[in-house]
Symmetry: D2
Subunit: 342 residues, 4 copies
Amino acid sequence: MAKVRVAIVGASGYAGEELIRLLTVHPNVDLRIITSRQNAGKEISEIFPRFFGMDLKFSAPDVARIAAECDAAFLALPHGLASEYAIPLMEAGVRVFDISADFRLRSTAKYKEYYGKEHPAPELLKKAVYGSPERYREQIRNAAFIACPGCYPTSIILAVAPLLKAGLVSTKNIIVASMSGVTGAGRKVDLPYIFPECNESIRAYGAVGHRHLPEIEQELAVAAGVGEMAVNFIPHLAPMNRGINSTIILDPTEQFSKEAVTEAYKNAYGNEEFVKVLPMGKLPDTKHVTMTNRCEIGYVYDSHTNKLLVFSVIDNLTKGAAGQAVQCMNIRFGMEENLGLR
Amino acid sequence: MAKVRVAIVGASGYAGEELIRLLTVHPNVDLRIITSRQNAGKEISEIFPRFFGMDLKFSAPDVARIAAECDAAFLALPHGLASEYAIPLMEAGVRVFDISADFRLRSTAKYKEYYGKEHPAPELLKKAVYGSPERYREQIRNAAFIACPGCYPTSIILAVAPLLKAGLVSTKNIIVASMSGVTGAGRKVDLPYIFPECNESIRAYGAVGHRHLPEIEQELAVAAGVGEMAVNFIPHLAPMNRGINSTIILDPTEQFSKEAVTEAYKNAYGNEEFVKVLPMGKLPDTKHVTMTNRCEIGYVYDSHTNKLLVFSVIDNLTKGAAGQAVQCMNIRFGMEENLGLR
Amino acid sequence: MAKVRVAIVGASGYAGEELIRLLTVHPNVDLRIITSRQNAGKEISEIFPRFFGMDLKFSAPDVARIAAECDAAFLALPHGLASEYAIPLMEAGVRVFDISADFRLRSTAKYKEYYGKEHPAPELLKKAVYGSPERYREQIRNAAFIACPGCYPTSIILAVAPLLKAGLVSTKNIIVASMSGVTGAGRKVDLPYIFPECNESIRAYGAVGHRHLPEIEQELAVAAGVGEMAVNFIPHLAPMNRGINSTIILDPTEQFSKEAVTEAYKNAYGNEEFVKVLPMGKLPDTKHVTMTNRCEIGYVYDSHTNKLLVFSVIDNLTKGAAGQAVQCMNIRFGMEENLGLR
Amino acid sequence: MAKVRVAIVGASGYAGEELIRLLTVHPNVDLRIITSRQNAGKEISEIFPRFFGMDLKFSAPDVARIAAECDAAFLALPHGLASEYAIPLMEAGVRVFDISADFRLRSTAKYKEYYGKEHPAPELLKKAVYGSPERYREQIRNAAFIACPGCYPTSIILAVAPLLKAGLVSTKNIIVASMSGVTGAGRKVDLPYIFPECNESIRAYGAVGHRHLPEIEQELAVAAGVGEMAVNFIPHLAPMNRGINSTIILDPTEQFSKEAVTEAYKNAYGNEEFVKVLPMGKLPDTKHVTMTNRCEIGYVYDSHTNKLLVFSVIDNLTKGAAGQAVQCMNIRFGMEENLGLR
């Protein structure tokens, strides 16, 4: 089988670095083009010294060249820029995997509410498939444009959607407290992210109206089969590089039983390589999934308060960004889904 | 004013170390006796090298000597041992400040449920005052025995009690996700606490039935004026030395308004030196309170879900243990409450 | 005794924060003025939330006002700016404690070599006393201007000077490998200092020609009674907030004996509160001195290679900057040397 | 090509975990047997939850079964136990890769001096090849028994040996200050290694007579073509999980020139995939090599002191242990040297 010829567009952040890490060792990928407007002409290793010794350079983004030379393009651009590349690339037949937030929301109104501007390409929204393989595998197989989920949403949706779908937990009163490593903020040079401000610290932020919230609500509503949902999503910054833990508190419905939860997870993920559900009562730990494409889910029922507690951990850069995007590419190009991701 | 002559009983853990740190520089304390069964005869600095150069030794615990030489005794013993020292010391007129969990619960039944054995001294329970100065200052002034609160409970009770007392939030559906630094586990030599198992990791534990839960429920029920309460308390271990953040999700009642919350906190803590409430919408950070005896509280109302979100941070070893105990001593002996704690 | 009225000029970095921390609780200091050009008018707590609840504001720097209202001024300014404040303040009789690097070097040629520009005030250099209390206590008592040592130099000079003075180690072949926490870089918002770039990393930097080198060489040469010295000083950045460890390898002279080393240290520091020498063979640890004004020194002789190994630890912000400056102020104003520093 | 059938003997530490991580994804390995006396019968994931979902169990060590079923065995046993397994396995034709320290020293006298007991199998010593591929590749190709180097020695020998061999630096006066992450201490449950004792701390240990010293001296002496050498090796524990940085100070000889150093490194490593030498003056960082099998070397000449400064970083568990062992296996079995290691 011919190798998939790949471009990464806008690869100067941590998710871009993770894409490079994964795609340079992917046995069926030919990583041809890595673009960065600000770093064009530089060696990759000048920006990411981890890649010292690899013969790779950043080039300026050039849609025509990507269209001519590549089968797939990963977009790792700041908000609002994806469509500028996605539209001509799609027209040229290139499959596009966007890890920005631009095309994750179905609703242009929500986009405007949370991003403060009109959606840049509403017509493209209709074609976008949400790149969560465990939920949209069949659609991904044929998609021209795949909007890869955010890191927090991935950890939360994978944990809650099967329970909502099975009617075991209420759509109301869903509480999520998530804790993320600092790479989750991107390679951002800003006072709150320098080492002494993050180390020996844990703090909540964006507790109301975080930009990942509408994406979470949208996908949980789809799972529940309802029109709208309102969720409490409270992210925290933890002094570590990688990893997200989402702690989720849910109200059981009348159909709820512990066995039914176990069964719902088994149905959803029994055959999934990248989502593992721990035995009931066992809680996951971010460190067990860092540098992997795996989501681990634990759960326990609290009879004292009649709540179901669910815990979900991922590596924010892998299953939460680049790894999941590669998983989507594998599906889209008919390769084994775990290629380059074990 | 004569100095208060003080003993620390059982000082080989981190809370003991913090007591030594605070009491050796307290301007009105004469730290006479520091006991440790296992380390008797050793220099303090052999166990806690931070105190190198201080002329202090561990002695074997000797109740008669403490009774003869001291006005106050801090007990930093494992569960179940406090009464053995507390009873004879109290009979001898020594004021006792216990930072173990033995006398925090009013209910011997709850004690048995959570600690798996009969309470060792039920009669002493009736005399114990819960050492939360902001809530029981008057009782502390005259108490012979003060049971100092746990670290998680301190962060949670201070944040929630004023709101329950004012009737602004429901006694139902209280959700707490707390994150603690690793000293919260004590100076415990066990696989889960070695550096590589904690670093680059965040994980929930004890999500159902943690031993601090009944203490939280007891004090919140007192604040609410109800008999019983059931709370979800979900602790997490974070890769840092010190600090607890408690993120609390509350259901507003009909009396609720944002202004009323501000007012309730102002009433409760407007004159308190060691509890600071941030302006609404501003979230606290553990690093701003480490090595201090301060609790900082932030809050924000989420109109999207109609929840009140409250955030509370303390240093688990200071306001969460040793510092609060010293604050109680200051009150009990009629000293300025902040002496040795600024 | 009247309180010393104090100003801090340029207090928006970590050393400034540490000065505020120490001076607000110093029993004999009235902290009147805290200046910051960029933050003038803001609450201190807006920049350093740790000080929330204190009624302190940044003002614009105003030499006349400081001269009128203060007895002492601490300068925590970027390189090259100290003289602008120091000269008029000294003329007005204010004692000046400069924690910048401007006046630490006796040689204007060295200054130019390492800082790349002419010294801004060569005449003031002659009046400056090097603020290392254990070495220049008598001069500090009467100094109008005190140039407080750098953090790396403090750790190294205190460890090596007594041995050179006693002729026990060679002035040649001195090797120093130091490791510093990230606050040592200041509150610098730059890519190499964001959390994910520092965490899980250790790296050397500035291995040749670091700006602290000439200061180290100057003071060691004074101790040795020689004109010039050349030292290898190799700093490393370690993933922690505070603390410096300097590991120093020395060539014994013919006068060397292990007993003589012990004796030399005893002579130098036997009566010093803030320099502690561990028993031979015991190695120090930065964590035992963080948040203290103490330097701890360990040493061991390696007969296999005939080298003396010396290890020195301090808190870079306390004994390495703000604490040592306060110690100098205590001396200068005839107060107990440890006031506010225990 | 048939897969190499592999056993790991004694796999309950961090190096064992790393071997499992590497060998389970190695495309040409069939990992058949993983033994642990203490964990026999347990799922691998019970001890290393990272491997959750893999169908792997610990078995009790059974030499006969390994001999019957495997082509290669990795020994990750405590000191003194390797020969018990190595001898019968070798007799049965199994290739043995020992990552313990038992067979790294040529001299039984040195072994006794540093390990405090007679060498358990002196006759086997003669057959052992030191598993440093960049130095002994040809011998490894035909070896029956390969003693894989220690982590510190790997970082140091790779950096210094080419310079000694080329006669560019003196065999005298070699100073090494190394800093290691805490996994370097093994999965050891002991007070100095719990999180709060390691975090926010840097400390030297074993500064004289560390067990890795004779191994370093032996291999450097071989490189220099001399009988004996004495080196200063001073390890430090740094608050991170993985990574070693060795900072090395060397005395140039008369043959020395900067160009000759560049040339010597080019000759040694120009064609090596797993040793990369940075351009002169650029310093390496442990974080750029963690989770890789790569050693990175930087160097700079200090004309001020006439010293050559060399810096070498590796991941202690990969190039410093398991990865290098896998590299040896690849060579021994005629596979591509980087298989499973990219």
